[in-house]
Symmetry: D2
Subunit: 205 residues, 4 copies
């Protein structure tokens, strides 16, 4: 198999990329000058050295932005260390961070748990989860916010995490909360589903 | 102008119907036998006689379903007459009713108020709104729920209605609430906007 | 069942209209003043009197546009009566007519024949087809153009019509042609299917 | 700027990739084990050595598939060397090749010429085009098929190429043809544009 096909196969594993677009990537690279490809190779080479996983929240961060094994959020004394928001992915964390409405800490599960999954513990960072929560529990953690997507897999992940954390949260009296459900921006009442309306009514303000 | 073009024009005023689909309607009618068209004409003729507007909530209902000038919801003694949900349209009301999570009364505004509209009072049933709320205020009304779509026009309508009702709500100590904002069913955290995340965080449960 | 529901059911038979939009039509009508509904009723009443089917091509036309039983196209001496384009619907005919590139006559089948249909003769105007073609064959008809949509049902309809017309076309030496296949406006070569590329190559000009 | 952001920027230049998906690529890579990234780097390194451009048709091909500087199509004695199809991109060539209906040679322009572009000669391989066509003209080339997408840019590219080739094609009496226009697979007559209908009528078969 030649380079075009091999690279096409490798790009096909990228999230959301099918065989056609994958091949377009390869032709695109062939049409670029060598310096662009060299830069791409160089950045791929340093990626795993430059980027490390935070020892506490498990998000990826650049060594240059923090001198410790903790990311800039976890090592920031101005953030509220008594609140911990649990999210599925780095992308979720970044999107919440963009809103600037949350000042606590995070924990990135690194995945979601599909419904009826037989080995949920292999889909997310369970050990990291209990380790971090246990450590923080002894340092004043008062609330865990489960910030899951409002779909079946998100809900299932939330329930699984809640069950895993139950012993610790009960022992240390840590409140476990969930992001509020309701009408999201742009939603029309006429086209809202029952669950959303029921939540919006319950959470009326 | 011939019948095809005239009917095409009339159907074009139907919500969401453009000139092409409008014409397809006419050709569809031409291909149907006369009995279908006769039935359509008959139902159009009785529509405004059969269907009346409720004196209290202004929704449309069939004379056959209620002996009074009040619809089956307004005249239902088992519903909570102390709660009044204000919606924009009959379709909104029906969608909420389908969820079976609300047991109070409704009021249909019959429209929405666009932002910066110069005559908001002409877009919705303002007189009906104040008349009904005033009457209910003297009969134990304790909460008004503004159930608007989560878009700019819905929010603007909600603000306008709240301002209109302020004198009455203050005089009779009626609470005015809004449907809760948050993650609606299916929404992924990664793609949620700032407002929705902020609301979901605030309304966490 | 009340008028709202009955009308909703009747509108649901309109092409492309589901239960929700159908109901929106009814609420829309309820919100209109009576004069609009009266006009709609009046036009529905005269529709089948005003609009008749052309004796020769079977398109619908207004009595006002022609004094005979033939539509304005069939009775137009300036059009080429030796060419007959066979289309499925009035909408197809109108779309071709809009292009102003065809100066012959038409024949509207009033439907298409699904693949493996057991009674193809009930889906289109077979008797009208053979009657008109036979009559025109004796008056110099030299070409029949099958103008079907480029999908399976269109192709099947074309084959069926061709088989039906074979005895007449052979007897009178009438050429039967099909609309050319190839790249349609906007199509990119990279995303064209095999059939289209094969046709485009064969019909290269 | 850290590796995540640098790589995000580099991936953003990939065709059809925006900032969000670009970042998802990086997080995806971070979640993969090092061997996948190593393989990606290795293939990127050999890409430009393994893949060369054909001296005659300018498509990319693997050195392994051909011993000469000509690709497997150009060096294939069983193909018709008297026909030359000119396409914009390797992807276009591959799509035509997939249909197995064309047995001649190709020439890849490596781009398209936007309308009113001031330097059309910089958008496509003009020198390669005239060199190859001149060489083939002296070896029996009888037809050049312009296989452009059926959009404005494709048509403009076709016109530009035709003008460039005019001196050679006239001198050697080479026919220049264009892919046929018409109804492409799936297109409905009712929704066809004027140009397509006009072409389909002209190219009727």
């Amino acid at each position: 198999m030649n380079s075009i096909n091999k690279l096409t196969e490798l790009f096909q594993r990228f999230p959301g990329i099918g065989p056609r677009q994958s091949k377009r990537f390869v032709y695109f690279l062939l049409s670029q000058n060598q310096s662009y490809i060299q830069e791409l190779i160089r950045e791929l080479e340093v990626l795993k050295q430059d980027i490390v996983m935070c020892d506490s929240c498990f998000r990826f961060f650049s060594r240059n932005t923090s001198k410790s094994n903790l990311c800039s959020i976890c090592s920031n004394g101005n953030r509220d260390h008594n609140k911990l928001m649990i999210v599925s992915s780095d992308a979720d964390l970044e999107n919440v961070e963009r809103t600037s409405v949350y000042d606590g800490l995070y924990l990135v599960l690194g995945g979601t748990v599909p419904v009826l999954d037989k080995e949920p513990g292999k889909k997310i960072r369970v050990k990291g989860l209990t380790d971090t929560v246990s450590a923080r529990a002894q340092n004043g953690l008062s609330e865990i916010i489960l910030a899951m997507s409002a779909n079946t897999e998100g809900e299932n992940t939330g329930e699984y995490v809640e069950a895993v954390l139950k012993p610790i949260s009960e022992k240390f009296s840590i409140k476990i909360s969930h992001l509020g459900r309701g009408l999201s921006t742009g939603l029309e009442l006429e086209y809202s589903d029952s669950d959303t309306i029921a939540s919006a009514l319950k959470n009326r303000t």
